[in-house]
Symmetry: C2
Subunit: 499 residues, 2 copies
């Protein structure tokens, strides 16, 4: 085979390995590291990240990419890999090393300041740090900018090729519909609070979660489940995918939906085509498509009636006292309760989108220079009131609740809602392709869906873009229609809404 | 401060960080990795090891070392660090890269062949691999050789500065004494087998082990305890020291002495002077001195009567049914039972040394060219009969029992016995320095000993050599006297021996 490509492939493979090591260290830091160990870990991470950056921007990489840029004999996987590496290379050389290290240092300190500020619910101590982060991210965006929109340059890191205009159009079409649906629900019959309250031993929660993961097709010889303060999934390779959840003894649903959500991510990582492991093409398409997999399993599957027709009796065996006599009807109400609330990660399927749109609008203005950091708390509170009808009483239930901005993750939030919209369209296609899908789920068979997702999405890596994938799967472009229909149908039934 | 030294220090720190990452990956592989993940991990380890090797042998490192070699203003820590890095540099550049990669590849395959061969107890399938490993290690030794003895060049990797002559003298003086003591014990009254048999839930074993580690002064905010097929300790930094043990439900003593042994190693790693972390001087002196710390805690402390006067009642609380009514006398007999047996890792304090001497003699002959690999099984069996009075009935209880040679660890075994001899001399000095040491141990106070070891040994890193350390602590050179006296006194009492 082409010798230039061989050299490229070796470099790519080693870069993948080094990045996987970075992920392993991060996983370890979230799950295993003793308290004091973190201070040394930070230095390790930054030293290894510098090794990765040097490899990506090396003269050897430059040469390999130049030689392959017009190579006609490459396969689709090879072409995609060269293009993706070129994209990463171009970004990496555009940002000066001083800015990279400044960002690393600032976000590390800003994160610590955020932890303290949130605990104290005091925005003023975090404010100067956020200001500095926003300045540096604007500088980064100016280095990367390739369209009129500065914000788009950051967005591209998480959701390549999506434009600000597309997101604006999508989100603006969704927002009033969500608000209207929320209003209708809030004026309908109310579901009692806490009908699932009880005492749920963590060990039992874990075993039941493992049972569901197994049914989803999670491969235990290629993955593991642990606990951490914030649930996450990390794919160290298709043969080593690790997810976490957090356990609350008073609420089994928090760990369980965490496990199913991260399990959806994990199936994507385990489903990548091992044959191409190490190539840039052998990775998930985008954060949005990744999120579509977690949302689809969490919401479309695991908050549906067919799913619990099968699983509720099993769950009751694990918690016989706690869930004695609860009906499927009441259970469905409890896990699908809609109520305007302050905290994004606790939000239901309807208000979740409103939380995201609020963040999207604010971060877009911050990067675009249309909002000063000093005004952010006011705007946050006003928008919360406008979209959700409630006003945060303190910053920890408002502007300070999420860690993302402190870590420099700006342009990340919209992928959550985009993923949710993708999920509806993808699930609709799955239902069309597998007419008996509901019957499968009702019988506890989750495998057909997993196989379909792997065949249609996971195994292709980046050889399709997000929009190509959606087109390929559903035979049309992305639309809000399936998402809105799904919510309308589901919650009309649960809340007995009149049209 | 000296600018050359600053450049050296930065390079050294980063090399330490990268090596610590390698150790983290190895720890993860032994404790956490899902089964299939290992195949990818091997590539990561080799890619990162190559990064480390390149850093160690880089032109920048060469220049820094040259500039500092005659720098007069360095402190003891700085001098020691420069010398130690120079030692590593010299070794690394002497071995051709082809040999390094050949060794890595061969030992990886030889290890797999060893696993199979041991399971099948069939030396012939491992034989060609061992032959290849020995050839490559002889080649490595020829590259590194700096004295008449080829073997010494390998030994130097694990126990710098010790000569083959010194080991020969020490071990030859010990061997007949151990054999004689073994004979006397085997002709004395016998202790019943299995007086500690029972069913010991792993969870309880773990909690009791943690309790003892805590009493030893193990810092939980700077370390952790897990389980793995083979117990080990890895110091990722003084603030992150991880030990493992393995649990046997039928035998609590296997996990417990594993925990205490590895705990001894861990206290060394946690006791290094954090101020100098990242410097080559801020590491343990040698494998032998490291082993002295684990042996001292395992044997001199945790197999002693004062220790169990305090801990036996606690142990009985954890296993009330299983250990009901066992007397201190019987317990001491059970944990100190002496009997010639085949497996080194299950050997008592007397026969352990004989197991090591046998391996030392064989590997010395292999590297020196005085023994062919084809004759190794015969020699093993003959020596086992000569030293222990028993003959292995199959290779898995003889020549195939240890993994070391398959992994290229030749020159490693003698550090186990050397460490055991160091331990006796060090513990004797501790008793002289802390006259009430037995009283402390009898009262459950292990902290004074830990503090003494940290002050005398741990905090100094490599600023003393092994022989300087022994001289400093005991005011004399290494001698077999304390080791032999310790065994004589201890086992005369337990077995009621006549002189």
């Amino acid at each position: 085979m082409n010798r230039n490509y061989q050299s490229f492939k070796k470099q790519a493979r080693e870069l993948t390995e080094l990045r996987s090591i970075l992920s392993t260290l991060t996983w370890d830091q979230e799950t295993m590291i003793p308290t004091l160990g973190s201070s040394i870990r930070a230095g390790q991470l930054s030293t290894l990240a510098a090794v990765c950056h040097k490899r990506l921007t090396s003269p050897e990489m430059k040469e390999a990419l130049e030689q392959l840029s017009e190579e006609p004999t490459l396969s689709l996987w090879q072409q995609t890999s060269v293009k993706e590496m070129q994209r990463q290379y171009d970004k990496a050389v555009k940002i000066p090393e001083t800015l990279i290290s400044e960002l690393a240092k600032t976000t590390s300190l800003a994160y610590q300041a955020w932890v303290t500020a949130r605990n104290d619910s005091n925005f003023s101590t975090f404010f100067p740090w956020l200001k500095k982060v926003v300045e540096l991210k604007r500088e980064e965006a100016r280095c990367l900018q390739s369209s009129e929109s500065l914000y788009e340059a950051l967005l591209d890191e998480y959701e390549p090729k999506v434009t600000e205009f597309e997101l604006d159009t999508l989100f603006e079409s969704i927002r009033p519909k969500l608000s209207a649906l929320l209003d209708r629900i809030q004026s309908s019959k109310q579901i009692p609070e806490n009908s699932l309250a009880g005492d749920f031993p963590i060990h039992q929660q874990k075993i039941f979660g493992e049972k569901i993961l197994t049914a989803m097709g999670f491969k235990w010889d290629a993955g593991r489940l642990d606990s951490s303060p914030h649930p996450f999934c990390t794919g160290l390779s298709p043969l080593d995918v690790r997810i976490t959840t957090r356990y609350d003894e008073q609420d089994f649903s928090s760990s369980l939906f965490g496990i199913i959500h991260e399990g959806g991510h994990a199936l994507y990582e385990q489903g990548l085509d091992l044959e191409h492991y190490g190539l840039p093409a052998c990775e998930a398409i985008s954060l949005g498509i990744h999120e579509s997999q977690s949302r689809l399993w969490e919401n479309q599957v695991a908050r549906s009636r067919p799913f619990w027709e099968y699983w509720l009796p099993h769950l009751q065996k694990y918690f016989p006292q706690q869930l004695q006599g609860i009906s499927l009807e009441n259970f469905m109400h409890a896990i699908n309760k809609v109520k305007a609330s302050f905290i994004r990660v606790e939000a239901d399927e309807i208000t979740y989108g409103l939380h995201i749109i609020l963040r999207y609008e604010i971060e877009k203005m911050l990067i675009g220079g249309d909002l000063e950091v000093e005004d952010i708390e006011n705007v946050w509170n006003q928008k919360t009131h406008e979209y959700l009808g409630i006003t945060p009483s303190c910053p920890s239930e408002g502007v300070l609740q999420d860690t993302h901005w402190s870590q420099g993750l700006i342009g990340y939030f919209p992928t959550y809602l985009l993923g949710t919209v993708y999920a509806s369209q993808i699930f609709h296609s799955a239902q069309e392709s597998i007419p008996e899908l509901s019957e499968h789920i009702r019988a506890g068979r989750l495998y057909p869906l997993k196989e379909w997702l792997q065949k249609k999405i996971h195994q292709h890596g980046k050889t399709l873009s997000a929009s190509e994938l959606i087109q390929e799967i559903s035979d049309e472009t992305l639309t809000n229609q399936y998402f809105l229909n799904y919510l309308e149908n589901k919650f009309s039934e649960i809340y007995d809404l009149k049209l």
